[in-house]
Symmetry: C2
Subunit: 224 residues, 2 copies
């Protein structure tokens, strides 16, 4: 099934991916090369969920070609290289798109196809899945020519303000699993608790990363 | 409408509330008496959502009578005093209940009646809304005589294990708004972003607590 916009266009999904120096805040528990592989595995989890969803075109938006070839060929998806910052890269896509655009962050290993499909079912001009801490984890933009992104900081509020300024309707899509973006050690707790079946959680387990309970609170530890 | 169990019993909701020394981890930003009032306002937000939901009996389970009288009379709800730890208090309730029991934490100001009603619509023996960090924020127990709680730590996993051990069916109810329990300063970010219309967020604003963006991350600050 191809989801169509009220105007009839099909849904194209962009996944921004930072190929080099990814996930530096995880350096408290993962080494450089481990973080690189971990970031790629989270991306693959996201791609798998998108492929089981109703979207019909997935495009990887990478800052460099490094390490991307294997993903392109194994998942059969397109890749667009843009080494500019996230906002510039996405905004130049929006400027040139007429069909609806979805932007899904690559560090959301817990999302499933049902979250994606639910978001696509809404008819508002803009649908936003917030992250914990005020971020924008997933966006559906039905009129890309009338919207510009402003990621970083309280981007949920910023995106709502931009929608209002342009007279666009919007909806906040509240989802636990779409809210968990994996940036720092504490986020690995969610991945290990809720991420059974994901490549990212399996990899953490092979590294000896596991849950630990200290004074009633759950943290992660790593075997030495 | 009164939600009934497959066996026909009505749903009774217990809200555990720690009257004294509540929310000590918020001492980084709120004074003692402010934390006390803030905790009470979050409780009132929870009670309001429950009253607009399909539940038909709300019981406040408090560790002491202090400060409870006003809530009892203004909301017309019952109060049960039990100064034991949370697990002992809830387990002695479960032991004596035959109708389904719901347990809702008092620090969930973002929940609405729709989250409550969705949880009640499920037919599993146990429905759990996890908190961020492995906790159990809301529980629906359809066969209280066959279940015991074990809060603190990774209680989501513990509750699943207990259900399995007793041959009970269970469902994890993933909800962003039910996952945000307010324990520490970082949690106030979620309340200020998503809590428009709650008494708890309004109170924070009167205290001069607001959002702040530092190096792309959202935090809270307080006017001095």
């Amino acid at each position: 099934m191809i989801k169509t916009s009220p105007g009839g266009g099909c849904i194209r999904v962009y996944i921004p991916f930072k190929a080099r120096g990814a996930k530096s805040r995880l350096s408290t528990i993962l080494k450089d090369d481990e973080r690189q592989l971990f970031a790629t595995l989270m991306l693959e989890d996201v791609i798998r969920s998108l492929k089981s969803s109703a979207v019909d075109e997935i495009i990887l938006l990478s800052t460099s070609e490094e390490g991307i070839g294997a993903i392109e060929s194994s998942h059969g998806i397109e890749c667009l290289i843009d080494d500019r910052d996230l906002n510039s890269a996405i905004n130049s896509i929006l400027k040139n798109e007429t069909d609806p655009v979805m932007v899904v962050m690559s560090d959301l290993p817990l999302i499933g196809s049902s979250e994606i499909d639910e978001m696509l079912d809404f008819r508002e001009d803009l649908v936003i899945a917030p992250g914990i801490g005020g971020g924008t984890n997933i966006l559906v933009v039905r009129s890309p020519e009338h919207f510009r992104v402003d990621y970083y900081g309280n981007s949920l509020q910023d995106h709502i303000n931009i929608a209002r300024k342009h007279g666009l309707s919007f909806r906040i899509y509240y989802s636990f699993l779409a809210a968990v973006d994996i940036d720092e050690e504490a986020d690995l707790v969610e991945l290990l608790i809720h991420g059974d079946g994901t490549a990212a959680a399996s990899y953490l387990r092979t590294l000896g990363v596991s849950l630990s309970v200290n004074q009633g609170r759950v943290t992660v530890k790593r075997e030495v």
